[in-house]
Protein backbone atom coordinates (compact mmCIF):
# COMPACT_ATOMS: atom_id res chain seq x y z
CA UNK A 1 0.00 0.00 0.00
CA UNK A 2 1.38 3.40 -0.92
CA UNK A 3 1.89 6.02 1.77
CA UNK A 4 -0.77 8.30 0.31
CA UNK A 5 -3.41 5.61 0.55
CA UNK A 6 -2.61 4.79 4.14
CA UNK A 7 -5.17 6.18 6.55
CA UNK A 8 -6.92 8.18 3.86
CA UNK A 9 -10.14 8.14 5.89
CA UNK A 10 -8.44 10.06 8.73
CA UNK A 11 -9.88 13.55 9.12
CA UNK A 12 -7.18 16.18 8.37
CA UNK A 13 -4.93 13.40 7.13
CA UNK A 14 -2.23 15.85 5.98
CA UNK A 15 -1.29 16.61 9.60
CA UNK A 16 -0.25 13.01 10.28
CA UNK A 17 3.15 11.81 9.06
CA UNK A 18 3.02 8.74 6.81
CA UNK A 19 5.52 6.99 9.01
CA UNK A 20 3.24 7.21 12.04
CA UNK A 21 0.28 5.43 10.42
CA UNK A 22 0.10 1.66 10.73
CA UNK A 23 -2.50 -0.04 8.57
CA UNK A 24 -2.32 -3.84 8.41
CA UNK A 25 -2.93 -5.29 4.99
CA UNK A 26 -4.31 -8.47 6.49
CA UNK A 27 -5.28 -8.81 10.13
CA UNK A 28 -7.87 -10.86 11.92
CA UNK A 29 -8.61 -10.50 15.62
CA UNK A 30 -11.02 -12.96 17.27
CA UNK A 31 -12.41 -14.04 13.95
CA UNK A 32 -13.19 -10.49 12.90
CA UNK A 33 -11.45 -9.09 9.85
CA UNK A 34 -9.73 -5.81 10.71
CA UNK A 35 -7.64 -5.52 7.56
CA UNK A 36 -6.96 -2.20 5.93
CA UNK A 37 -8.50 0.90 7.41
CA UNK A 38 -10.40 -1.14 10.04
CA UNK A 39 -7.11 -1.71 11.79
CA UNK A 40 -5.60 1.75 11.40
CA UNK A 41 -3.31 2.75 14.22
CA UNK A 42 -1.70 6.18 14.57
CA UNK A 43 1.50 6.11 16.58
CA UNK A 44 1.99 9.02 19.00
CA UNK A 45 4.56 11.63 18.03
CA UNK A 46 5.93 11.75 21.56
CA UNK A 47 9.71 11.88 21.86
CA UNK A 48 10.58 8.92 24.07
CA UNK A 49 14.33 9.06 24.25
CA UNK A 50 17.41 11.09 23.45
CA UNK A 51 19.87 9.37 21.13
CA UNK A 52 23.22 11.12 21.00
CA UNK A 53 24.90 8.78 18.48
CA UNK A 54 24.48 11.19 15.56
CA UNK A 55 25.69 14.11 17.70
CA UNK A 56 28.86 12.17 18.51
CA UNK A 57 29.44 11.54 14.82
CA UNK A 58 28.93 15.15 13.80
CA UNK A 59 31.06 16.40 16.68
CA UNK A 60 33.94 14.14 15.68
CA UNK A 61 34.24 15.89 12.30
CA UNK A 62 36.49 18.95 12.04
CA UNK A 63 33.74 21.29 10.86
CA UNK A 64 31.05 19.84 13.08
CA UNK A 65 32.97 20.20 16.33
CA UNK A 66 31.23 23.41 17.38
CA UNK A 67 27.68 22.03 17.21
CA UNK A 68 27.34 21.94 21.01
CA UNK A 69 27.83 25.68 21.24
CA UNK A 70 24.44 26.30 19.62
CA UNK A 71 21.84 27.98 21.80
CA UNK A 72 19.05 28.11 19.20
CA UNK A 73 18.85 31.85 18.54
CA UNK A 74 17.93 31.30 14.89
CA UNK A 75 20.36 33.84 13.46
CA UNK A 76 21.55 31.25 10.90
CA UNK A 77 18.04 30.57 9.61
CA UNK A 78 17.24 34.27 9.61
CA UNK A 79 20.07 35.09 7.22
CA UNK A 80 19.94 31.86 5.18
CA UNK A 81 18.86 32.63 1.56
CA UNK A 82 17.89 29.00 1.04
CA UNK A 83 15.66 28.89 4.12
CA UNK A 84 13.79 31.91 2.82
CA UNK A 85 12.99 30.04 -0.37
CA UNK A 86 12.54 26.55 1.10
CA UNK A 87 10.77 26.45 4.48
CA UNK A 88 11.68 22.77 4.84
CA UNK A 89 15.36 23.70 5.17
CA UNK A 90 16.06 25.14 8.59
CA UNK A 91 19.67 24.98 9.83
CA UNK A 92 18.71 25.98 13.38
CA UNK A 93 16.19 23.15 13.55
CA UNK A 94 18.55 20.57 12.03
CA UNK A 95 21.22 21.47 14.57
CA UNK A 96 18.73 21.14 17.43
CA UNK A 97 17.29 17.76 16.47
CA UNK A 98 20.75 16.29 15.96
CA UNK A 99 22.05 17.83 19.18
CA UNK A 100 19.12 16.53 21.23
CA UNK A 101 19.00 13.21 19.36
CA UNK A 102 15.41 13.25 18.14
CA UNK A 103 16.09 10.37 15.80
CA UNK A 104 12.63 10.11 14.18
CA UNK A 105 12.73 13.79 13.27
CA UNK A 106 16.28 13.47 11.93
CA UNK A 107 15.22 10.48 9.86
CA UNK A 108 12.38 12.55 8.40
CA UNK A 109 14.42 15.65 7.59
CA UNK A 110 17.88 14.33 6.89
CA UNK A 111 17.68 14.88 3.14
CA UNK A 112 16.92 18.58 3.56
CA UNK A 113 20.51 19.14 4.69
CA UNK A 114 21.58 18.97 1.03
CA UNK A 115 19.59 22.16 0.33
CA UNK A 116 22.54 24.04 1.89
CA UNK A 117 24.28 26.09 -0.77
CA UNK A 118 27.38 26.55 1.33
CA UNK A 119 27.35 30.34 1.04
CA UNK A 120 28.59 30.69 4.61
CA UNK A 121 26.42 33.66 5.56
CA UNK A 122 25.22 31.77 8.66
CA UNK A 123 28.76 31.24 9.91
CA UNK A 124 29.48 34.94 9.50
CA UNK A 125 26.56 35.97 11.73
CA UNK A 126 26.53 33.16 14.33
CA UNK A 127 27.03 34.82 17.76
CA UNK A 128 28.38 31.65 19.36
CA UNK A 129 30.83 30.59 16.68
CA UNK A 130 28.94 27.41 15.86
CA UNK A 131 29.89 27.60 12.14
CA UNK A 132 26.50 26.31 10.94
CA UNK A 133 27.75 25.95 7.37
CA UNK A 134 30.46 23.60 8.58
CA UNK A 135 27.95 21.77 10.73
CA UNK A 136 25.73 21.28 7.65
CA UNK A 137 28.69 19.75 5.80
CA UNK A 138 29.51 17.51 8.77
CA UNK A 139 25.86 16.46 9.00
CA UNK A 140 25.59 15.67 5.32
CA UNK A 141 28.60 13.37 5.63
CA UNK A 142 27.29 11.85 8.86
CA UNK A 143 23.83 11.18 7.42
CA UNK A 144 25.29 9.60 4.30
CA UNK A 145 27.70 7.34 6.12
CA UNK A 146 24.83 5.46 7.73
CA UNK A 147 21.83 3.98 6.00
CA UNK A 148 19.28 4.63 8.69
CA UNK A 149 19.61 6.67 11.83
CA UNK A 150 19.63 3.73 14.16
Amino acid sequence: MSDEEKGKHIVERKYVDDSRIIEPEKLEIGGIDVSGHWGTLVLPRTIEDFDNSMLKKVKSMPRGKNIEKCWQCGNCTAICPVAHAHPEFNPRYLIHIVKMGYSAEVEKLKDTVYFCSGCGLCSSVCPKGVDPQGVMIAMSIAFKSKKGYR
Binding site: R45, T46, I47, F50
Partner: protein, 348 residues
Protein backbone atom coordinates in the same frame (compact mmCIF):
# COMPACT_ATOMS: atom_id res chain seq x y z
CA UNK B 1 28.10 60.32 68.56
CA UNK B 2 25.20 58.33 69.92
CA UNK B 3 26.37 55.51 72.14
CA UNK B 4 23.28 53.47 71.39
CA UNK B 5 23.90 50.40 69.25
CA UNK B 6 22.45 49.62 65.84
CA UNK B 7 20.12 46.62 65.74
CA UNK B 8 20.71 44.23 62.84
CA UNK B 9 17.96 41.63 62.34
CA UNK B 10 19.16 38.56 60.48
CA UNK B 11 22.69 37.18 60.24
CA UNK B 12 22.84 36.18 56.59
CA UNK B 13 25.18 37.70 54.00
CA UNK B 14 23.47 41.13 54.20
CA UNK B 15 23.15 41.22 57.99
CA UNK B 16 26.68 39.97 58.60
CA UNK B 17 28.12 42.54 56.20
CA UNK B 18 26.11 45.35 57.82
CA UNK B 19 27.21 44.31 61.31
CA UNK B 20 30.83 43.96 60.21
CA UNK B 21 30.91 47.38 58.55
CA UNK B 22 29.32 49.14 61.52
CA UNK B 23 31.62 47.42 64.01
CA UNK B 24 34.62 48.45 61.97
CA UNK B 25 33.39 52.05 62.22
CA UNK B 26 33.38 51.53 65.98
CA UNK B 27 29.60 51.62 66.19
CA UNK B 28 28.18 49.03 68.60
CA UNK B 29 25.87 46.44 67.03
CA UNK B 30 23.24 44.09 68.37
CA UNK B 31 22.92 41.23 65.90
CA UNK B 32 19.72 39.21 66.32
CA UNK B 33 19.40 35.86 64.53
CA UNK B 34 16.34 33.62 64.60
CA UNK B 35 18.32 30.45 64.06
CA UNK B 36 21.11 28.88 66.02
CA UNK B 37 23.98 29.50 63.62
CA UNK B 38 25.20 32.60 61.84
CA UNK B 39 25.49 32.75 58.06
CA UNK B 40 21.91 32.70 56.82
CA UNK B 41 20.78 30.73 53.80
CA UNK B 42 24.23 29.75 52.44
CA UNK B 43 25.17 28.15 55.77
CA UNK B 44 21.71 26.80 56.61
CA UNK B 45 21.40 24.92 53.33
CA UNK B 46 25.15 24.11 53.20
CA UNK B 47 25.86 25.81 49.86
CA UNK B 48 28.95 24.13 48.46
CA UNK B 49 30.10 27.05 46.35
CA UNK B 50 28.72 30.27 45.00
CA UNK B 51 27.98 31.18 41.39
CA UNK B 52 29.46 32.34 39.10
CA UNK B 53 33.04 31.40 39.92
CA UNK B 54 32.60 28.36 42.18
CA UNK B 55 33.96 30.32 45.14
CA UNK B 56 33.69 28.14 48.25
CA UNK B 57 30.91 29.51 50.51
CA UNK B 58 33.34 29.37 53.41
CA UNK B 59 35.66 31.83 51.68
CA UNK B 60 32.90 34.42 51.29
CA UNK B 61 31.04 34.07 54.58
CA UNK B 62 33.70 32.60 56.89
CA UNK B 63 35.60 35.84 57.58
CA UNK B 64 32.38 37.78 58.31
CA UNK B 65 31.03 35.09 60.65
CA UNK B 66 34.35 34.95 62.47
CA UNK B 67 34.51 38.73 62.77
CA UNK B 68 30.94 39.00 64.09
CA UNK B 69 31.55 36.29 66.69
CA UNK B 70 34.78 37.84 67.95
CA UNK B 71 34.31 41.59 67.64
CA UNK B 72 33.86 43.40 70.95
CA UNK B 73 31.55 45.85 69.17
CA UNK B 74 29.04 43.17 68.23
CA UNK B 75 26.66 41.49 70.60
CA UNK B 76 25.19 38.40 68.95
CA UNK B 77 21.80 37.21 70.20
CA UNK B 78 21.00 33.83 68.62
CA UNK B 79 17.64 32.08 68.59
CA UNK B 80 15.81 35.32 69.11
CA UNK B 81 13.33 37.52 67.29
CA UNK B 82 12.38 41.18 67.53
CA UNK B 83 8.81 41.44 68.70
CA UNK B 84 7.95 45.09 68.89
CA UNK B 85 9.37 48.55 68.78
CA UNK B 86 8.66 52.06 69.91
CA UNK B 87 10.32 55.46 69.87
CA UNK B 88 11.82 57.15 66.85
CA UNK B 89 14.99 57.24 64.78
CA UNK B 90 18.07 57.57 66.99
CA UNK B 91 16.16 56.40 70.04
CA UNK B 92 14.19 53.22 69.39
CA UNK B 93 13.21 50.84 72.13
CA UNK B 94 12.85 47.25 70.94
CA UNK B 95 11.66 44.05 72.52
CA UNK B 96 13.83 41.02 71.77
CA UNK B 97 12.39 37.62 72.66
CA UNK B 98 14.58 34.55 72.86
CA UNK B 99 13.12 31.19 71.90
CA UNK B 100 13.40 30.08 75.53
CA UNK B 101 10.95 32.87 76.44
CA UNK B 102 13.42 35.34 77.88
CA UNK B 103 12.53 38.92 76.86
CA UNK B 104 14.87 41.88 76.87
CA UNK B 105 14.08 45.51 76.18
CA UNK B 106 16.85 47.36 74.41
CA UNK B 107 17.50 50.89 73.29
CA UNK B 108 18.90 51.18 69.77
CA UNK B 109 19.71 54.06 67.44
CA UNK B 110 18.76 52.42 64.16
CA UNK B 111 17.40 49.13 62.85
CA UNK B 112 18.65 47.19 59.82
CA UNK B 113 16.27 44.50 58.59
CA UNK B 114 17.96 41.65 56.72
CA UNK B 115 15.68 38.69 57.29
CA UNK B 116 16.27 36.92 53.99
CA UNK B 117 14.24 34.28 52.17
CA UNK B 118 13.07 30.69 52.14
CA UNK B 119 13.27 28.31 49.20
CA UNK B 120 9.90 27.61 47.60
CA UNK B 121 8.30 24.49 49.08
CA UNK B 122 7.82 22.28 46.01
CA UNK B 123 5.15 20.12 47.68
CA UNK B 124 2.80 23.05 47.01
CA UNK B 125 2.99 22.37 43.26
CA UNK B 126 1.88 18.75 42.84
CA UNK B 127 2.92 18.39 39.19
CA UNK B 128 6.53 17.63 40.12
CA UNK B 129 5.66 14.80 42.59
CA UNK B 130 8.07 16.37 45.06
CA UNK B 131 7.81 14.68 48.42
CA UNK B 132 5.92 11.76 46.87
CA UNK B 133 8.31 10.26 44.31
CA UNK B 134 11.87 9.38 45.30
CA UNK B 135 14.80 11.10 43.58
CA UNK B 136 12.87 14.31 43.00
CA UNK B 137 14.95 16.83 44.93
CA UNK B 138 15.33 20.59 45.23
CA UNK B 139 18.50 22.49 44.33
CA UNK B 140 19.03 23.06 48.04
CA UNK B 141 19.14 19.29 48.61
CA UNK B 142 21.47 18.73 45.64
CA UNK B 143 23.77 21.44 47.00
CA UNK B 144 24.11 19.44 50.24
CA UNK B 145 24.88 16.28 48.22
CA UNK B 146 27.54 18.14 46.21
CA UNK B 147 29.02 19.49 49.47
CA UNK B 148 29.30 15.92 50.71
CA UNK B 149 30.82 14.85 47.38
CA UNK B 150 28.28 12.07 46.94
CA UNK B 151 25.31 12.36 44.60
CA UNK B 152 23.18 9.21 44.66
CA UNK B 153 19.52 8.27 44.41
CA UNK B 154 17.43 7.01 47.30
CA UNK B 155 18.64 3.45 46.60
CA UNK B 156 22.30 4.48 46.60
CA UNK B 157 22.63 4.25 42.81
CA UNK B 158 24.57 6.86 40.86
CA UNK B 159 22.19 8.68 38.49
CA UNK B 160 22.97 8.34 34.78
CA UNK B 161 20.48 10.86 33.45
CA UNK B 162 19.49 13.93 35.42
CA UNK B 163 16.93 16.61 34.57
CA UNK B 164 16.97 20.07 36.07
CA UNK B 165 13.57 21.75 35.98
CA UNK B 166 13.81 25.53 36.07
CA UNK B 167 11.34 28.05 37.48
CA UNK B 168 9.73 25.74 40.06
CA UNK B 169 7.55 28.01 42.15
CA UNK B 170 8.57 30.99 40.07
CA UNK B 171 6.99 32.82 37.14
CA UNK B 172 3.73 30.95 37.62
CA UNK B 173 0.37 32.46 38.60
CA UNK B 174 -0.57 29.36 40.58
CA UNK B 175 2.45 29.78 42.86
CA UNK B 176 4.76 32.80 42.75
CA UNK B 177 4.64 35.20 39.80
CA UNK B 178 8.14 36.68 40.15
CA UNK B 179 11.52 35.52 38.83
CA UNK B 180 13.91 34.39 41.54
CA UNK B 181 16.85 35.79 39.48
CA UNK B 182 19.49 33.35 40.74
CA UNK B 183 18.17 29.82 40.23
CA UNK B 184 19.25 29.66 36.56
CA UNK B 185 22.80 30.45 37.55
CA UNK B 186 22.74 28.21 40.61
CA UNK B 187 21.27 25.26 38.68
CA UNK B 188 23.85 25.61 35.92
CA UNK B 189 26.62 25.86 38.50
CA UNK B 190 25.35 22.66 40.10
CA UNK B 191 25.05 20.92 36.72
CA UNK B 192 28.71 21.69 36.02
CA UNK B 193 29.71 20.46 39.49
CA UNK B 194 27.64 17.33 38.93
CA UNK B 195 29.35 16.73 35.60
CA UNK B 196 32.75 17.12 37.27
CA UNK B 197 31.70 14.73 40.03
CA UNK B 198 30.05 12.07 37.85
CA UNK B 199 31.77 12.07 34.50
CA UNK B 200 29.28 9.94 32.58
CA UNK B 201 26.12 11.68 33.69
CA UNK B 202 23.82 13.11 31.00
CA UNK B 203 22.29 16.38 32.10
CA UNK B 204 19.21 18.02 30.59
CA UNK B 205 18.13 21.50 31.65
CA UNK B 206 14.43 22.11 31.03
CA UNK B 207 13.99 25.87 30.99
CA UNK B 208 11.60 28.62 29.92
CA UNK B 209 14.25 31.33 29.64
CA UNK B 210 17.84 31.30 30.77
CA UNK B 211 18.36 34.36 32.94
CA UNK B 212 22.04 34.26 33.79
CA UNK B 213 22.39 38.00 34.10
CA UNK B 214 25.64 39.95 33.87
CA UNK B 215 28.85 37.99 34.22
CA UNK B 216 26.91 34.85 35.21
CA UNK B 217 26.40 34.31 31.48
CA UNK B 218 29.81 32.63 31.42
CA UNK B 219 28.33 29.75 33.41
CA UNK B 220 25.72 29.21 30.71
CA UNK B 221 28.26 29.28 27.88
CA UNK B 222 30.72 27.01 29.68
CA UNK B 223 28.02 24.50 30.61
CA UNK B 224 27.22 24.02 26.91
CA UNK B 225 30.58 24.42 25.33
CA UNK B 226 32.87 22.71 27.84
CA UNK B 227 30.56 20.29 29.63
CA UNK B 228 28.05 19.32 26.93
CA UNK B 229 25.04 20.02 29.09
CA UNK B 230 21.82 19.96 27.06
CA UNK B 231 19.08 22.56 27.14
CA UNK B 232 15.42 21.87 26.35
CA UNK B 233 13.11 24.84 26.09
CA UNK B 234 9.76 24.09 27.65
CA UNK B 235 7.93 23.66 30.89
CA UNK B 236 7.31 20.30 32.51
CA UNK B 237 3.69 19.26 32.85
CA UNK B 238 4.13 16.24 35.03
CA UNK B 239 6.71 14.08 36.74
CA UNK B 240 5.53 10.52 37.17
CA UNK B 241 7.28 7.79 39.15
CA UNK B 242 7.17 4.48 37.28
CA UNK B 243 8.35 2.48 40.25
CA UNK B 244 11.90 2.52 38.96
CA UNK B 245 12.54 5.78 37.13
CA UNK B 246 10.99 9.19 36.76
CA UNK B 247 8.97 9.88 33.63
CA UNK B 248 9.18 13.57 32.79
CA UNK B 249 6.48 14.88 30.51
CA UNK B 250 7.03 18.14 28.73
CA UNK B 251 7.35 19.80 25.38
CA UNK B 252 10.44 20.84 23.48
CA UNK B 253 8.93 24.04 22.17
CA UNK B 254 11.74 24.51 19.65
CA UNK B 255 10.56 21.46 17.71
CA UNK B 256 6.88 21.48 18.75
CA UNK B 257 7.63 18.05 20.14
CA UNK B 258 6.01 16.60 23.23
CA UNK B 259 8.39 14.34 25.12
CA UNK B 260 8.07 11.66 27.76
CA UNK B 261 11.54 10.64 28.78
CA UNK B 262 12.80 8.58 31.71
CA UNK B 263 15.26 10.12 34.14
CA UNK B 264 17.08 8.77 37.19
CA UNK B 265 16.94 12.02 39.09
CA UNK B 266 14.97 15.24 38.79
CA UNK B 267 16.31 18.42 40.38
CA UNK B 268 13.84 21.25 40.93
CA UNK B 269 15.20 24.79 40.75
CA UNK B 270 13.04 25.99 43.61
CA UNK B 271 12.68 29.74 43.75
CA UNK B 272 12.99 32.39 46.40
CA UNK B 273 10.10 33.58 48.52
CA UNK B 274 9.81 35.79 51.60
CA UNK B 275 10.47 33.65 54.65
CA UNK B 276 8.76 33.37 58.02
CA UNK B 277 11.30 35.78 59.46
CA UNK B 278 10.42 38.44 56.92
CA UNK B 279 6.69 38.10 57.61
CA UNK B 280 7.30 38.22 61.34
CA UNK B 281 9.51 41.30 61.20
CA UNK B 282 7.06 43.07 58.88
CA UNK B 283 4.32 42.80 61.48
CA UNK B 284 6.62 43.48 64.44
CA UNK B 285 8.05 46.66 62.93
CA UNK B 286 4.87 47.56 61.03
CA UNK B 287 6.73 47.66 57.72
CA UNK B 288 5.05 47.97 54.36
CA UNK B 289 4.82 44.78 52.35
CA UNK B 290 4.44 44.74 48.56
CA UNK B 291 2.01 42.64 46.53
CA UNK B 292 4.48 39.73 46.51
CA UNK B 293 5.05 39.63 50.27
CA UNK B 294 8.52 41.16 50.18
CA UNK B 295 9.27 44.25 52.29
CA UNK B 296 8.45 47.33 50.22
CA UNK B 297 11.03 50.08 50.11
CA UNK B 298 9.73 53.65 49.86
CA UNK B 299 11.08 53.90 46.30
CA UNK B 300 11.49 50.54 44.53
CA UNK B 301 14.89 51.55 43.16
CA UNK B 302 16.32 52.49 46.58
CA UNK B 303 16.22 49.29 48.56
CA UNK B 304 17.63 50.45 51.89
CA UNK B 305 14.94 53.08 52.53
CA UNK B 306 12.02 51.42 54.34
CA UNK B 307 9.99 54.64 54.34
CA UNK B 308 10.39 54.80 58.12
CA UNK B 309 13.19 56.94 59.42
CA UNK B 310 15.86 54.89 61.12
CA UNK B 311 14.76 51.53 59.74
CA UNK B 312 16.78 50.24 56.79
CA UNK B 313 16.33 47.19 54.58
CA UNK B 314 18.92 44.93 52.98
CA UNK B 315 19.09 41.67 51.08
CA UNK B 316 16.49 39.17 49.95
CA UNK B 317 13.79 40.42 52.31
CA UNK B 318 13.34 43.23 49.75
CA UNK B 319 13.59 41.27 46.51
CA UNK B 320 15.21 38.06 45.24
CA UNK B 321 18.93 38.58 44.71
CA UNK B 322 22.30 36.87 44.72
CA UNK B 323 24.77 36.64 47.59
CA UNK B 324 26.99 39.31 46.05
CA UNK B 325 24.08 41.74 45.80
CA UNK B 326 22.99 40.94 49.37
CA UNK B 327 26.46 41.73 50.67
CA UNK B 328 26.48 45.05 48.82
CA UNK B 329 23.04 45.89 50.20
CA UNK B 330 24.21 45.07 53.73
CA UNK B 331 27.01 47.56 53.28
CA UNK B 332 24.63 50.17 51.88
CA UNK B 333 22.26 49.80 54.83
CA UNK B 334 25.18 49.99 57.26
CA UNK B 335 26.22 53.28 55.69
CA UNK B 336 22.72 54.71 56.20
CA UNK B 337 22.71 53.59 59.82
CA UNK B 338 26.20 55.07 60.36
CA UNK B 339 25.01 58.37 58.91
CA UNK B 340 22.07 58.38 61.30
CA UNK B 341 24.25 57.56 64.29
CA UNK B 342 26.70 60.37 63.53
CA UNK B 343 23.83 62.82 62.96
CA UNK B 344 22.40 61.93 66.37
CA UNK B 345 25.64 63.17 67.87
CA UNK B 346 25.16 66.63 66.33
CA UNK B 347 21.56 66.89 67.52
CA UNK B 348 22.24 65.67 71.06
Amino acid sequence: MSSLPVLVIGAGPAGLRAATDLAELNIPVVLVERRKELGGAPIRWKYHSLAPDFTPTEEVLGPMIKFCKNSSNIEVIEEAVVEGYGGSAGDFSVKIRKINGEVQDRKVAAIIVATGFEHFDATVDPRYSYGKAPNVIGINELEVMISEGKVVGHDGKIPKRVAFIFCVGSRDRSTNPWCCTVCCGVSIKQAIELKQLLNDVQIYMIYMDIRTIGLWEKLYWDSMEKYGINYIRGRVGEVFYTGEKLLVKGEDTLVRGPFEVLFDMVVLAVGIEPGEGTKQVASALKLKVNEFGFLAPKIPNIHFDSGKEGIFLAGTCVAPMSVEESIAEGSAAAMQAAKLVSRTKIIV
